[in-house]
Amino acid sequence: MKINVTKKIIAGLICAAVAVCVCGCSSGTATDSSASSTTESSSDTGSVSTAASASDITDKILSEIEFPSNVEIKEERRADYYEADADKIESYSAYVCGSGAYPDELAVFCMKSSADTAAVKEMLEKRVEKQSAAFKDYTPDEMYKIDGNNVVVSGNYVALIICSDNAKATEIFKSLTK
C-alpha cells in the first residue's frame, strides 16, 4: 500500500514536472515567437516607421553639408520637379537652391516597395541630365557637383544628391537607410 502511495506520489511529481516543462517550453516558445515577431515587425516597420523617414535623411545631410539658399520642395510642389506615383511613396523630402545660382539639390524618396525604386531612379537620372545640361555652360565651376554619382539607391530609398560633398552626403544617406 505504501509502495502504491509512493508510486502515486512519484507519478504525481513526474506529471507535475512534465507539466512544468511543457509550460516552460510553451512560455519559452511564446516568448521566442513574440520576440521573433517583434524583431520581424520591427524590421518590417523598420523600413516604414522606425527607420529614418525621407525628411530625417535630408535634415541630417543638410545639417552636415552646406546647401546654398536651400528651399524645400514640399509635397504639393513635388510634381513640378519629380514625377512619381504618390501612392507608391512612403515618405519624400527635397530641397533645391532657391536663387537659381547653384545646381545644389537634394531629394530623398522612401518607396513602399523596393520594386518601385527603379522608376524613381530613372526619373531622377533624367533630372540630373536636365540640370547638367542647364548648368554646364552657365556655371562650369559648379559642375564638379554633378559628377555622375548623383542618384543612389539603398533598399527602399532613392536619393538625388547634388552638392559640394556628394560622397559625404551619400555616406549619410546609406548609413540611415541600412
Partner: protein, 292 residues
C-alpha cells in the same frame, strides 16, 4: 528525479534570460536610428537666418574665448575694460557708420499675379523655386538673354507658344544680366525693344520691363563674369530709352535694390553677388504690385 527537475528548470531559466536579453539588445538599434535623425529641422534650412546668426557671436566671443585666454595674465584689468568700453563707447569712439538697411515693402497679394507671366533668366527662376509664384507663370531659364528669348525655348516651349496658350494679361520681363559685359549694351537694349514689340504683336497683355539688378563690389571684381556697375548702369539707361519707344512700361527695380554706393544692398543678394536672396522676391513682387 528531483535533480532532473531542477536541472530542467535551470535550463529553462537560462533560456528565458537569453530571450529577454536578445529582446533588450535589439532595442538600442531602433533607438539609435531614431536619435540620429530628428536633431535638425528647418532651422538649418533657412538661409535668411544665417545673417542673423552671424551677429550673435559678437556679444558672446569676448566672454567665451577672449577672457579665458587673457584673463590669466590680466584678470583685474580685463573686466573693467569691458564695462568701461560699454559705458563710454558713445562718447569716446567716433560714430560708427551703420550699414544701410533697405526699407522696401515686402507684402504682396499672390493672387494679383494670377494672370501674369514672368520672363527672365536664372534670377527669375527663383520666383518659383522659392515658391512665391507658380511655375506655370514663369518663363525663365538659366542663361536666357535679350537676344535669345524670342528664339529659345523653355522645356521645349517657345515664348510665342507660351504667350498664345496662357494669354497672360500682365507680362513682366527682366533680362540682360547674362549679357551685359559680354555684348554691346545698345545692341542688347535694341533686342529688348524687339522682344517687346514681338510680344505686343501677339498679345494684348500689358508689358512691364524691369531694369536689371545691381551687383556687389565682390562680384564686380570676380573673374567669373564681366559684369560691372558701370555696364549695368549704362544698359539700364539705354533700356529705359529703348522701352520708351514701345507700348511697354519701364520699371526701375534696380534702384530699389541698390545702396547709395551703387552696389547691392547686403540684404538682397545671394552669396555670388548677382542673384537674389529669398526675401528679395518679396520685395520684387511688392514693387511690381504697386507699380502695375
Amino acid at each position: 528525479m528531483l535533480a532532473v527537475i531542477c536541472s530542467l528548470s535551470v535550463i529553462l531559466c537560462g533560456c528565458s534570460d537569453a530571450v529577454s536579453s536578445s529582446v533588450s539588445d535589439s532595442a538600442p538599434d531602433t533607438s539609435s536610428v531614431s536619435t540620429t535623425a530628428p536633431q535638425t529641422t528647418t532651422a538649418t534650412t533657412l538661409p535668411q537666418t544665417t545673417t542673423t546668426v552671424t551677429t550673435v557671436p559678437v556679444t558672446e566671443e569676448p566672454v567665451q574665448t577672449d577672457i579665458t585666454s587673457e584673463q590669466t595674465e590680466e584678470p583685474e584689468t580685463q573686466s573693467p575694460e569691458y564695462t568701461d568700453s560699454e559705458e563710454t563707447q558713445p562718447q569716446s569712439e567716433p560714430p560708427v557708420t551703420q550699414p544701410e538697411t533697405p526699407s522696401a515693402p515686402t507684402d504682396f497679394e499672390e493672387s494679383f499675379f494670377d494672370d501674369a507671366l514672368f520672363i527672365g533668366d536664372s534670377i527669375t527662376t527663383g520666383l518659383y523655386l522659392y515658391g512665391y509664384i507658380d511655375m506655370s507663370k514663369v518663363y525663365a531659364k538659366m542663361g536666357l538673354a535679350p537676344s535669345t528669348a524670342l528664339y529659345s525655348d523653355v522645356d521645349g516651349v517657345t515664348l510665342e507658344s507660351k504667350i498664345k496658350t496662357d494669354k497672360p494679361k500682365k507680362i513682366y520681363i527682366m533680362l540682360g544680366t547674362n549679357s551685359v559685359g559680354y555684348s554691346d549694351n545698345e545692341y542688347l537694349a535694341s533686342c529688348m525693344e524687339e522682344l517687346v514689340n514681338s510680344i505686343s504683336s501677339i498679345s494684348k497683355a500689358k508689358i512691364y520691363v524691369l531694369s536689371i539688378p545691381p551687383i556687389t563690389a565682390y562680384a564686380e571684381a570676380s573673374y567669373d563674369n564681366y559684369l560691372s556697375k558701370a555696364a549695368i548702369d549704362e544698359y539700364n539707361s539705354l533700356l529705359k530709352t529703348a522701352i520708351s519707344r514701345t507700348d511697354a512700361v519701364f520699371l526701375d527695380f534696380h534702384s530699389v535694390l541698390t545702396a547709395s554706393d551703387g552696389y547691392y544692398y547686403e540684404e538682397y543678394h545671394e552669396m555670388d553677388g548677382i542673384h537674389f536672396m529669398g526675401s528679395t522676391y518679396q520685395v520684387m513682387l511688392s514693387f511690381l504690385e504697386e507699380h502695375s
